[in-house]
């Protein structure tokens, strides 16, 4: 098993590397997007790109590398012409920069000439905080509701919980947030309708968390509830639980000592996978509620074609996503030991 896990994790990183390389090449194949903004910023941008190795700089015009992207007079009265380096060569230098200097490049339009790492660092906190809070809220809620539903199986309580779960699991987050915004922000005025700024007072900031946490966690709560209910119902009907009751344990003892333990085992890997997966933040939610996290950054980078930022952001998403996949895949083995992932026919 240990060997299999190690192999999977190693492969996950390999996959991440290939994905990023492919995206890099595909994005760079698109026409070069010139930065817009102040002249000084543009000069600085081209200079940085030149030093990173993505552009050629010549003192006279040449037609070897297509049309000149930019022309500027240097400090010593020399005119520089900038040309795009062939894509594969750029790819090599990009890898070189990351491996040797951990240099992921600079932003073009979002925050001109700020290093990509710095931008990510300033944004990732919001996403992580939001997701940790929503997981902390979702997991206990989901498990409790699931246990409740399972214990009251086929009663009114169970039916109500199941109906709510079906409804909330189906409704997309962006629809849900519309309803929430309408009711709690516009009609009742209890919560802010967008993410409060960093300057806002603490109470306002806390209020700002409520809506996104609800929207993020409702889906997971429903997922956990459904899962726990199903698992617990199955365990409750098993022979060993009957045996436990027969040998004289009370219902409570039997459920807590025997049923719950077994029902929870397969849940933990999926929680872990969930946590890793949502680390990247929810793009739509961040976009709709104007949360300055990396999800929103990804969308802005994509819209503004700020590739350097895009690649870092994507590296984070991909790595977390793949790790979550590995954990999830391994968790199948826990759920049903008869399934051996990777086994031959």
């Amino acid at each position: 098993m240990g060997k299999y896990i190690a192999k999977r994790i190693l492969l996950a990183f390999m996959t991440a590397f290939i994905i990023l390389s492919l995206t890099f090449i595909l994005c760079k194949l698109l026409p070069f997007e010139k930065p817009v903004g102040q002249e000084a910023e543009r000069v600085a941008y081209y200079d940085k790109q030149y030093h990173l190795g993505y552009l050629f700089r010549f003192e006279e015009e040449t037609d070897k590398y297509g049309e000149a992207l930019y022309k500027t007079s240097g400090s010593k009265g020399v005119t520089y012409y900038y040309y795009q380096v062939p894509v594969l060569e750029q790819y090599g230098r990009w890898l070189g920069n990351i491996i040797t200097k951990w240099d992921w490049g600079y932003s073009k339009t979002i925050q001109p000439n700020v290093s990509a790492g710095k931008i990510i660092k300033s944004k990732i906190g919001y996403s992580i905080r939001l997701n940790i809070f929503s997981t902390l809220f979702a997991v206990p809620m989901g498990i409790l509701l699931g246990i409740w539903a399972a214990l009251k199986k086929n009663t009114m309580t169970d039916h109500i919980i199941s109906t709510i779960v079906t409804v909330f699991i189906s409704i997309p987050g962006f629809v849900l947030i519309s309803f929430f915004l309408k009711i709690f922000c516009y009609n009742l005025g209890w919560l802010p309708s967008t993410w409060p700024s960093d300057m806002a007072p603490l109470a306002q900031k806390i209020k700002g968390y409520i809506l996104p946490i609800c929207c993020l966690s409702f889906g997971s709560i429903c997922g956990y509830t459904r899962y726990v209910r199903g698992e617990l119902c199955e365990v409750m009907e098993s022979d060993y639980l009957l045996l436990a009751r027969t040998k004289g344990l009370t219902r409570r003892q039997a459920i807590i000592r025997h049923a719950m333990k077994n029902a929870m085992v397969p849940l933990f890997p999926s929680i872990l996978a969930d946590v890793i997966f949502i680390f990247g933040g929810s793009m739509i939610l961040e976009q709709l509620y104007v949360i300055p996290g990396i999800g929103k950054l990804f969308v802005s980078a994509l819209t503004a074609k700020d590739y350097d930022i895009l690649f870092v952001d994507m590296a984070i998403f991909t790595t977390f996503g793949l790790l979550a996949g590995v954990v999830l895949d391994l968790s199948y083995g826990f759920i049903d030991p008869r399934i051996r992932m990777g086994a031959k026919k």
Partner: protein, 632 residues
Amino acid sequence: MSEFDNTQVQFKDDDFVLVKRDAMISDRKLETKPTTFFKDALRRFAKNKSSVIGGIILGILVALSVIVPLVIKDDIDNVKSSERFLEPKLFEAGTGFWDGTRKRTHTVYDQENEVPAISEKYSIASIKQSLISIKVDEEPSLIDTANVYGHGGYIVIATDTQVAGNDIYMQSKPVAFTSKGNYKIDIVFSDEENFNGGKLGEYRVYLKVGESDDDIVMIRDFGKDYSNISFDISKALEEAGRDSVEARVVFDVKASASEIRYVLVKSISLIANENVNNAELLAAISFTDATEMINNGDKESDGYWACTGRKGIHNSEIKYCDYVIDTYMLVYGDSDPVTYSASEVKTWIENGWCQYDYTVGPESFVRLTNDCPIDVVDSQKLLSRTKKLESITGRGWNYRKLGYDKMPVHLMGTDASGIDLLKRAFAGLRTSLIMGIIVAAVTFAFGLVWGSISGYFGGNVDIMMERFTEILGGVPSIVVLTLCILHLGNNFGTFVIALCMTGWISTAHTTRTQFYRFKGREYVLASRTLGASDWRLIFKHILPNSMGTIITGSVFMITGVIYSEASLAYLNLGLQGTHSFGVMMSNNQPYLGVYPYMVIFPAVIMALMMVSFNLFGNGLRDAFNPSLKGSE
């Protein structure tokens, strides 16, 4: 037991009869009808009530998405800016629910015209006729700015701490006063000591006769006396020995270096006896309503009252109201009256569009065909000499101008471009569904083959194939779509290709997991031992057992596509060139606060769609799951 003990039960041989004494003992044909896997699944699906209901709702939505765009004739491709933001309407206006009316609270009230002062393009006439109810606040609110709809209040003459130490002056336009004209001035002050942190200041009022500062006729000298002034100018002139002067009325407020000092003036009235020739100017300079004076009088270049300090308004009264307005009447109701010449009317009559007899008057107007531009004649004008018709003034329904035969009704209202939301929503839904079905079909076919091979053979084949799907699936779908759009252009086909490219992975994944689940089972092993080929094992033994999950997966694929299409629109990557549900939803999102119906209606459809799809899919999954067979 005791009863039994007391009774003697006796059996004789005759009491026993052999059941099958003479019958042939052999196997009998089964009396139950044979059934297929799918028939059985269907039967079990029908037993699951919530899934059936889900299926029915889903069916209705699908049917609507086909029917609605055909039935509603509205044009949904072009922007109709005059018809935007119409509320949903099902019942007659005034019924209070779903009636195309809009409620507004706390709106400035136009006391003069007795309508809410909505500063939109609408004329007062159209507001009046579309007004369903109005409730005016009884207590007026007091504000410190000059609102067009405000009344009363005081003029504030305030000093400025910025130019500390200098007195400030408010002076009127020059007026010719004579000692014979019986000129009088009445000024009303207020002593309200509570204004933006300043204090009432010392002031004086005088008539400035000449250019020099000494050439004045004092009305009230420096002091803090805020009682009313009633001053006879002519008398003062006579006492000063002047016959006629041209003078300005000047308020001089003493400044303080540290604080704002101010004086509040409620009204000024300059009057003279009847036969002076500058009565108009006097009336313009006089005011009883300070807000009105600021609004009207100060439109002049230097104003009737020019001020070197800050001139403002205090405690202007403004009324607010709550009202309900019929948005349809506002847009489609009567147009403003238009005057038509006699020759135009003559043409209409000749063409047979209408009947009109000017000798009878406006009531004789009869509209005959839809070509006639007016519905009602308000008045007519006759030539003074010949007493023949010169022109008529009439009004027509506005919807005729917009090209409708009768008042349109929008069940879901219209959006920011004036497009009928119902039709747009269902046209968008249709696009989404078609896209979903195509993508589901393609991904189902491809994913099934891929997943079967990967899952069945396992080992290195599986690892290789898994890496490939992982790489493809690892590229965020938003990036795949963006790259596709950038390389292929934004259209329906691109979306299908992009969604297929990533979509089949989930089908393949489900199939693969199912194969892992079943391929080690005893029955497969038994079959393999009997020499079954791979082909037979896959299609006869493993696949039928996993079919339920895979089919359910494909049903959920359709919801997935609808979801993806909508969420991409929220990320500014919406489908272009055809009607898209997601684009509509994300376009309407900013209006959630003001026109909530624009977001809520599509959101309800979306939610209904997703919930019923899920119920339906869950039912399918249970029905197709062989292990649940006979469990109910």
